[in-house]
Amino acid sequence: MAALNEEQSILKDQAIAWINDNGPVAAFRAMRDSGNPLGFEQATWSAMADMGWPGILVPEEFGGSNLGYLTFGLILEELGKQLTASPLLASGLVGAAALILGGNAAQKKACLPRIADGSRIVTLAVDESTRHDPAGIALAAHKTANGFALSGDKCFVVEGGAATDFVVAARTAGNAGDANGITLFLVDGAADGISRTLLRTADSRGYAHLKFANLEVSHAAVLGDVDNGGALLDAILDRARAGVAAEMLGTASQAFAMTLEYLKTRKQFGQVIGAFQALGHRAAELYTEMELARSAVEGALAAIDADAADVPAMCSLSKCKAGAFLFRMSNQLIQIHGGIGMTDEFDAGFYLKRARALETMYGNQGFHRARFATLMGF
């Protein structure tokens, strides 16, 4: 793993200790069993806010700690290991990034302190179908006398049930598929023109479909520039992808640890099953893939922190590599555990379900492979 500075080491240790005490997989299981429609416990979120996690990206003048993406990734990785449910990724990373990158002074002042203290949950509403396709945005924002009126649908909005505010990507000019003509709006989730349908997904996370029925917003709601929000949206999405990849790495690395432990303890044919070369080699290959994925994940987060020129390519690389490893690892978690892996009583299924959900979030491997090719000029 990346060579950490003292601040990062302390934060990581704090996260591990807190998650072990308060957010282990057992807590996720209890939340799921309770049927909680939001997909996380308010007490968990409050505790995270008390520790300052939603403010890790937020500048100090707005009540955050401004520690950067690599640091944020450390926390997301640890949370990913135990599947700890919270809106930290959706709001603390994606929502905060939207405000930091696109907000004007008034918007930052109004919003960032409340993202940092957890009192507002700001999430990105981007997808409009079952596939991630930012260029295909069609949700219409018509110009009115006082601003804009938004009409259309958004799907699979992450933490869409609990969000207090949405960053909505809408079309103010051109047609679906055009790179230009996209504008981002920061809208109050409680407004009358928005209706939500909470989704019951296999991974028990809080997604929602949103319907905008002629929702009127003023010019003050515009995040960034009118009609030219495509680049801003890409930048926000890239940060989101790098964050999801960190969570995926955590989820997969825990699945690896559980599998390795099982290989060393489960006995068949008079020996631990890890003594069979077929399984020893599989473990070696999974470990190799994990080390490579870690480089991609940390590389993307560091590229964002350094404002490097290749952030888009690095973020697609990271999402792709973490996705491929998590897919394989979550399947092997069940395969190597055999029958016990299939039971709901054992945790393996949670990892498999979460893996499938994270794969679709902000673009699957296919999306990012194709995007990488485009970015490389072919």
Binding site: A275, Q277, H281, E285, L292, A373
Partner: protein, 404 residues
């Protein structure tokens, strides 16, 4: 700028000035000529002058101690030197000229050698004057190296060696050999092995080059018929050759982690694809499947180089052999072999050229490189042997191969 950085930048200036004064401009663009194992290229004129200058400065082996002919540089300084050489099209032929001397024998002699051995063997390697080969594999000892049977008997003044080695790279043109030999047949197979060093130019040594699927190769069979090694050229302790030999293999893995293609050019695959396959009106490669596989390969290659950098950063510039070498070797192999396959696929029918005027050099080289690159997952511990090492030494799983 920190003090360390300032010192490094000062070194950069010194390196730049020295290179400007010593690297012959006539050699710019000739790296491919001198940086291959093509042994028909003579060392003369400017090439010889450059080798001599580099050897005297110690910068052919930049991190070796100066008392043994090295440059005495830190890892960071060595990297700066490499960057500066790259920037002006300079190259370091000494690791190639020394055969296995720089990458494997040298580091192992530094660690296990007596003072006398270091004084006698290291400076000629550092000057690129003496080429070394390694006698490891035997016809019946490949992946199961410890079952080797070449025997050395103590004759009082010298060791007498009998047996056969195989896959000895460059044996036919090397002046010295480091070999694993059996010195005690009455103990476990790993406990009776020693590491001996001896000159190749002697009556008891005979070599025969091996032709491979790619054509001529540097590999040989090497036969020992009452060959001799001096008593003072036992490296490490008697019957402790397995430790010495394993250590050397770690250096070998370390040197095989770069993922560079074997020959066949290091140009951009996407440019090659644009040239041979072409782009459609949307700017996409005219073969959608190839496009995505090429993207996947470029991502794999980027991830590999990120991992090399991460491992280097985590060991904080300390070049000590890390447990990650097996991972990196397998990853490098995967990247290089995939690159070779994609290169041919991009070339289409032109990626079939063996020889003749109908194919250009790049095409023929790509075919040869594709074939010779299949060795990458076999030599230096096969892909499977690396996985044994990862599962046992890194993951702590039980030994899965035969004990003994």
């Amino acid at each position: 700028m920190s003090e360390a950085n300032a010192k490094l930048e000062q070194f950069r200036g010194e390196a730049r000035a020295w290179l400007a004064a010593n690297f012959p401009r006539s050699l710019v663009g000739k790296a491919a000529v001198y940086m291959t194992y093509d042994l028909d290229v003579p060392m003369e004129g400017d090439a010889l002058a450059w080798r001599t200058a580099l050897g005297e400065k110690g910068w052919g082996t930049p991190t070796w101690p100066t008392e043994y002919g090295g440059g005495g540089l830190s890892q960071m300084e060595a990297r700066v030197l490499q960057e500066e050489m790259h920037a002006i099209g300079a190259f370091n032929p000494i690791p190639i000229l020394a055969g296995m001397g720089v990458t494997m024998v040298g580091p192992t002699v530094l660690e296990y050698g007596t003072e006398d051995q270091k004084q006698r063997h290291l400076p000629p390697i550092a000057r690129g004057e003496v080429r070394w080969c390694l006698g490891y594999s035997e016809p019946n000892a490949g992946s199961d190296l410890a079952s080797l049977a070449t025997k050395a008997v103590d004759k009082g003044d010298y060791w007498e060696i009998n047996g056969q080695k195989i896959w000895t790279s460059g044996a036919d043109i090397s002046q010295w050999c480091g070999a694993l030999v059996r010195t005690d047949v009455n103990v476990g197979k790993r406990d009776g092995i020693s590491f001996l060093m001896f000159p190749m130019d002697q009556p008891g040594v005979r070599t025969r080059p091996i032709k491979l699927i790619a054509g001529a190769s540097p590999f040989c069979e090497t036969f020992f018929d009452n060959a001799r090694a001096d008593k003072k050229d036992l490296l490490g302790k008697l019957n402790d050759g397995w430790s010495v030999g394993k250590r050397l293999l770690q250096h070998e893995r370390q040197s095989q982690t770069g993922g560079a293609p074997m020959g066949g050019g290091g140009g951009s695959l996407q440019e090659l694809a644009k040239k041979y396959v072409g782009l459609d009106s949307a700017g996409k490669l005219r073969d959608e499947d190839l496009r995505l596989r090429l993207a996947q390969h470029l991502m794999d290659a980027k991830t590999h180089s990120l991992t090399l950098a991460r491992v280097a950063a985590e060991s904080r510039g300390n070049a000590k052999v890390t447990a990650a070498a097996s991972i990196l070797k397998n990853s490098a192999t995967h990247v290089a072999q995939a690159r070779a396959e994609l290169t041919l696929e991009i070339m289409g029918g032109n990626g079939l050229g063996w020889e003749g005027e109908s194919f250009n050099d790049e095409e023929i080289n790509a075919v040869r490189a594709w074939l010779s690159g299949k060795a990458m997952s076999i030599y230096g511990g096969s892909f499977e042997i690396q996985n044994n090492i990862i599962s046992k030494n890194i993951l702590g799983l039980p030994e899965t191969t035969q004990k003994g």
